[in-house]
């Protein structure tokens, strides 16, 4: 995370905001982006913890859901035990098993850090500008971006958002604003974000956090605008909009509402702040609950992978005997990817959907081909997989029920009824009943070579896109299992090392006494 600097750098903050905002493209075309991309430099479980504490994302199933998966035998007891041993050591296994299975954690979770600064409007001034700003902002944005619902589309065409609003404001007897100050600022000056924040917030040190709070109170709309700006694709009606324009307009509306509610003279938010809010970007320490959730998540995943891997290890000749088609699991699509010769593919138990990539290790001595394949396969499959993953975990969110009351806006998005924000993530019908499982990538090669290839990815060339493949794998956003072409021995990449993986094909259980 970047350190909070006292001088407000508009460009830098905008850049960072765009990294954090969810990618949402009009018409729900798939975005090919990890929903938690901004956290991708962290290890997977650390990223989940940070995202949930900072932004309030629901990044894992609830404890009750995990426990019910355990009770319905979807999570296998021996796998759970194995994960516990691996994470906590044999001595503490028993203690943690109790925590994982039984311990009651306080139900009321503290509110996430996002939104805490702006909550002070309610606390200090007894007014919440959002109740007034949001409906107006969404209405105008919806009308401006609309490409097909309204009969009479936005009257100014082919200009940027702020220019269009200026044009309408200048020529209309009815203003979008209720008070004169904000209108004047729009018409007569070209205010920067910093200028407007100086009026609203006051203290420069808080600007960045305020903008994050504000934009994440409607992350769907902001994400859409950021995506439109990034792709620089004009909408069908020839309009174009940038995140900066959205923020400037929203800040103007905020000034308008505050002028309206608090009178002409009011002090900026920072002036009456009792104590500075906690830093949004400070590291989140691990808590007992987050560790328990991480253990559960691993247990769910390895319970699933185990059956696949057991089929692949050739130690026992009668491996296929107990496979039946009845064991088809409902996991997200793109949860399995195999890079290897057809023999590996043949060993995959039936009933699993796998993305198959033909690859012969013997023709690729230096790993160049593997490098190329990982670079194409991992980010694209991984992004799809994580999109399903986080759409599923969000499913239990408060919004889950509201999905029923959704409404189309302007043929480009679906708003959930109550708050009016656009919905991010996949529609709930697609993720219902799935288990969130990370992508398991099985590569047939010698493990030293695979590590070397990944190592090359991370240091060799410095561009972000190239490094990110190594980031995906090393931070375990994707599980990597290497199958030795000669011995059929399995190795799992854990914390940057290849550790042996023993599975008993007969019982589909992992032996605890491995070199894990």
């Amino acid at each position: 995370m970047t350190a909070r600097n006292n001088s407000f750098d508009e460009l830098a903050v905008l850049h960072e905001l765009k990294r954090f905002l969810p990618a949402l493209s009009p018409g729900r075309t798939f975005t090919h982006r990890n929903p938690l991309e901004a956290f991708q430099h962290l290890h997977f479980h650390d990223a989940l913890r940070h995202a949930s504490e900072m932004l309030g994302y629901q990044t894992s199933l609830s404890l009750e859901e995990y426990r019910s998966l355990y009770n319905s035998k979807r999570v296998k007891p021996d796998v759970l035990e194995k994960v516990l041993v691996e994470k906590k050591g044999a001595a503490k296994t028993f203690e943690w098993q109790d925590k994982v299975l039984m311990k009651k954690f306080p139900a009321a979770v503290a509110a996430p850090r996002i939104g805490r600064l702006r909550a002070n409007w309610q606390k200090q001034y007894k007014t919440d500008p959002d109740t007034c700003v949001h409906p107006r902002l969404f209405r105008i944005l919806g009308n401006y971006l609309d490409h097909g619902v309204s009969d009479w589309s936005f009257p100014v065409r082919g200009q940027g958002f702020l220019d269009s609003m200026r044009e309408v404001e200048a020529n209309s007897f009815i203003s979008a604003f209720n008070t004169p100050r904000a209108r004047k600022m729009l018409l007569q000056t070209d205010p920067s974000i910093g200028d407007l924040l100086a009026i609203i917030v006051g203290d420069e040190a808080l600007f960045k956090q305020y903008l994050f709070d504000q934009q994440f109170s409607h992350r769907g709309w902001s994400g859409l605008v950021a995506t439109l700006e990034r792709n620089s694709s004009n909408l069908l009606n020839g309009s174009h909009i940038t995140l900066r324009e959205l923020i400037v307009f929203e800040l103007l509306l905020e000034i308008d509402v505050l002028d309206d509610r608090l009178g002409k003279q009011w002090d900026p938010l920072a002036s009456s702040l009792a104590s500075p809010p906690s830093d949004l970007f400070a590291p989140v320490p691990a808590s007992e609950k987050s560790e328990v959730l991480a253990i559960w998540q691993e247990a769910v995943e390895w319970s699933y992978y185990e059956e696949v891997l057991a089929g692949l290890s050739r130690n026992s000749p009668n491996q296929h005997s107990s496979h039946t088609l009845g064991t088809v699991r409902t996991s997200a699509p793109e949860s399995l990817c195999i890079i290897g010769r057809p023999t590996v593919v043949r060993d995959t138990p039936p009933g699993y959907r796998a993305a198959l990539h033909h690859y012969d290790f013997s023709l690729d001595r230096d790993g160049a081909e593997l490098e190329r394949m990982l670079e194409t396969v991992v980010p694209s499959l991984g992004a799809t997989n994580l999109e399903y993953f986080f759409s599923r975990t969000n499913f239990a969110d408060v919004n889950g029920g509201n999905a029923l009351g959704d409404q189309l806006i302007g043929l480009f998005g679906v708003a959930d009824g109550t708050r009016g924000d656009l919905r991010t993530g996949l529609p709930t019908e697609l993720t219902e009943g799935l288990e969130p499982i990370r992508l398991l990538c099985i590569v047939e090669h010698f493990h030293e070579m695979v590590l070397k290839v990944i190592g090359r990815r991370s240091v060799g060339r410095r561009s972000v896109g190239r490094r990110s493949v190594a980031q995906w794998i090393m931070n375990e956003w994707v599980h990597l299992v290497v199958i030795d072409p000669l011995t059929r021995e399995l190795r799992v990449l854990k914390n940057g090392e290849m550790v042996g993986y023993k599975s008993d094909p007969l019982k589909y259980s992992l032996s605890v006494a491995g070199d894990w």
């Binding site: 309204s150 589309s153 309408v168 209309s172 189309l408």
Partner: protein, 312 residues
């Protein structure tokens, strides 16, 4: 004795048919979308309650039965709007919206009660007061001006299945009330003119609101409201059969628009030609055009105005 409280005629038959069709559509849609969710039993109960209230109201032979049906329907409509709410999480910040619909309903009930009281105590000479009260109730129910803001908000906050019932049946009950009380005010020219004028303004305003709407459900609400305004004019002019046909047509149109929403379109597909189609508004002078556009986009501040008093 009991049966004298009920009344069956052509009007009842028409509303019964529409009600049957719309309820079937709503349940059919609800079965597709809600079945298996925890809302499904709630939905069924709300619909049954709604049907009971609707039936009571349209079959009623007097104000008392009508009021009873009205009440039951009001409660059911409220239940339909809050169908997907999860109250376990406490303090829902948006509870104000169903509360608004509920409030309008209660106001309507008060109107009916007052009308009942007035018709008992003030007698024939004060027919104008009774007619006025009936008209106020009817325009509240039909989401006409100045109470027009409850329907779009209720619609955008409810499931499609619930929205069908609200947009087609609940709204048309206002027209039913006018038609039922038709003999009462048909000789009062002033009331008829008033109904016509109310309908005209509502139709004009709602048509404008609907033209600039980018949200599908709100657009349906405003289209429905505009048509109801026209129906008010027809009723005031005495074209009762035409009004009934219009009611049915409007109900089916609304249900169709809710059941078959347009598909999402991504930015780079399709042609942009039809989007830059010129509408008749483009011929207006710029200043007038922008002013009208902003006027309709802000929806005349109706929301803000009502929300001010109903802030949750």
């Amino acid at each position: 004795m009991f049966w004298s409280d009920f009344h069956f005629d052509g009007l009842t038959l028409a509303y019964l048919t529409i009600g049957l069709a719309m309820t079937t559509l709503a349940v059919w849609n609800g079965r597709k979308t809600l079945r298996g969710h925890k809302q499904w039993p709630r939905f069924i109960i709300a619909v049954l309650l709604f049907c009971a209230g609707y039936g009571l109201a349209i079959l009623s032979g007097g104000l008392k039965t009508l009021l009873l049906g009205w009440e039951v329907m009001g409660v059911a409509s409220f239940l339909l709007i809050i169908l997907h709410r999860d109250f376990k999480n406490g303090g829902d910040p948006t509870l104000g919206i169903p509360a608004k619909a509920f409030f309008i309903y209660r106001l309507g009930d008060v109107g009916l009660l007052l009308a009942m009281w007035a018709s008992h105590h003030l007698g024939r000479e004060n027919a104008a007061v009774v007619s006025l009260l009936v008209l106020v109730t009817a325009s509240m129910q039909s989401s006409q001006l100045p109470f027009s803001s409850w329907l779009p908000q209720a619609l955008q906050n409810s499931t499609t299945a619930g929205a069908i019932l609200l947009a087609t049946l609940t709204v048309q009950m206002g027209v039913f009330l006018l038609l039922r009380s038709y003999p009462f005010w048909e000789h009062q020219l002033s009331i008829r003119v008033l109904i016509g004028l109310l309908g005209l303004t509502a139709a004009a305003m709602a048509a404008g609101f609907a033209r600039v709407q980018s949200s599908v459900k709100r657009r349906v609400a405003y289209v429905s409201m505009a048509h109801t305004g026209l129906i008010f004019i027809e009723v005031a002019a005495g074209f009762k059969s035409l009004a009934l046909i219009h009611v049915a047509a409007n109900a089916f149109l609304g249900a169709y628009r809710l059941l078959v929403p347009p598909a999402l379109v991504s930015a780079d597909t399709g042609k942009s030609v039809h989007l830059n189609k010129r509408t008749w508004e483009d011929r207006l002078p710029k200043k007038l055009k922008y002013t009208i556009y902003m006027f309709f986009t802000k929806e005349w501040g109706l929301y803000a105005r009502l929300s001010k008093y109903l802030r949750p």
